[in-house]
């Protein structure tokens, strides 16, 4: 996510809808994609993204520029999406074996796997993690945030970021028998 000009932020904080649209344009891809990967469902992601932007619009009036706007957006998005996923996780998660049984996915990590299958694979891999682990993995592997940025966004210790990533990756590694990645 790119940085946003302070003047735009000030105008948006005063209720200028055009300025807020600029804020939206810069941050919507991050907000929507994080929401989508954490809640793992398009309709829910839209609802989360919508709520996140309403929170940003409301709270922008009180934003004092003491912290980075980017970090602030990361924090609101990640926390709202995690809480949403925790509330709705039981109803939505499909067990990995059900959708990706033996030979169900034919994938090639070297770029030959078609986009649809790749999207499904990512979705199912993330569904195996709990919302806290999922948020860490999404922020790191998909959004490319540093450990420091993840720690700030989730308001956790940097070592907690490490341990969540470690456990998540161990869990994903344990699924390798269920998905034949090497098969073309």
């Amino acid at each position: 996510m790119e940085d946003i000009d302070k003047d735009i932020l000030i105008r948006a904080s005063q209720g200028d809808v055009q300025a807020f649209e600029e804020v939206y344009k810069v941050s919507s891809s991050f907000v929507y994609n994080v929401a989508l990967r954490v809640v793992n469902n398009r309709e829910d992601a839209l609802e989360v993204a919508q709520e996140v932007f309403m929170i940003i619009y409301d709270k922008l009036k009180g934003f004092r520029f003491e912290s980075s706007f980017k970090t602030w957006v990361y924090r609101i998005t990640a926390n709202y999406a995690i809480n949403y996923a925790k509330k709705n996780s039981r109803a939505k998660t499909v067990p990995f074996e059900e959708s990706f049984g033996e030979g169900a996915v034919e994938s090639d990590i070297h770029g030959q796997m078609d986009q649809e299958h790749q999207g499904q694979l990512v979705e199912k891999l993330l569904a195996e993690l709990n919302p806290d682990q999922r948020a860490c993995v999404v922020l790191r592997d998909i959004q490319g945030l540093s450990y420091e940025e993840i720690a700030q966004a989730l308001n956790i210790n940097i070592n907690t970021v490490r341990s969540r990533l470690k456990r998540s990756r161990e869990k994903l590694l344990s699924l390798r028998g269920k998905v034949d990645y090497e098969k073309v």
């Binding site: 939206y24 994903l172 990645y181």
Partner: protein, 161 residues
Amino acid sequence: MKKCDHFKDLILTDYIDGQLGKGMAENLESHLLDCGDCRAFFKEIKNNVTAPLQQATRQPVPSELWSTIKQNIELKNQATSPITDLVERIKGLFIFPRLIPILASCILMFLAGSVTLNTIHLQQVKDQDQGEYLVSLLSPTGTATAADNNDGGTPIEHYFL
């Protein structure tokens, strides 16, 4: 083996994420050259865990998202006209969180004041009693208190006096 476990922990996190210091990274890389097991582990993590996620395509934001947000903002702005905003600000001055500290301060000041007055009063009574007692000791009849010189007192006191 213990060394391998330590390196595998680093591979799973800091090394694969490029967050490991230069010295540690060089140390780990020289271990990878010697240890086939750790090398296979690194390859497996990279190919089967991080790569599929890193290659995940960014989904386009649905166009209806902004229109819904804009609609919600407009509704919100209509609901909060300048007059309602002013009313809210006035209400804000009288909300409980602000009254509580004021009330608590008043109660504390009242309690502190009454305790101080009570102490002063008790001290005065004590001083008065002591004064009367000393006067009664100095009096030749032992009945020199001002109160006793009056007609006051009980019949028994009158009898003995």
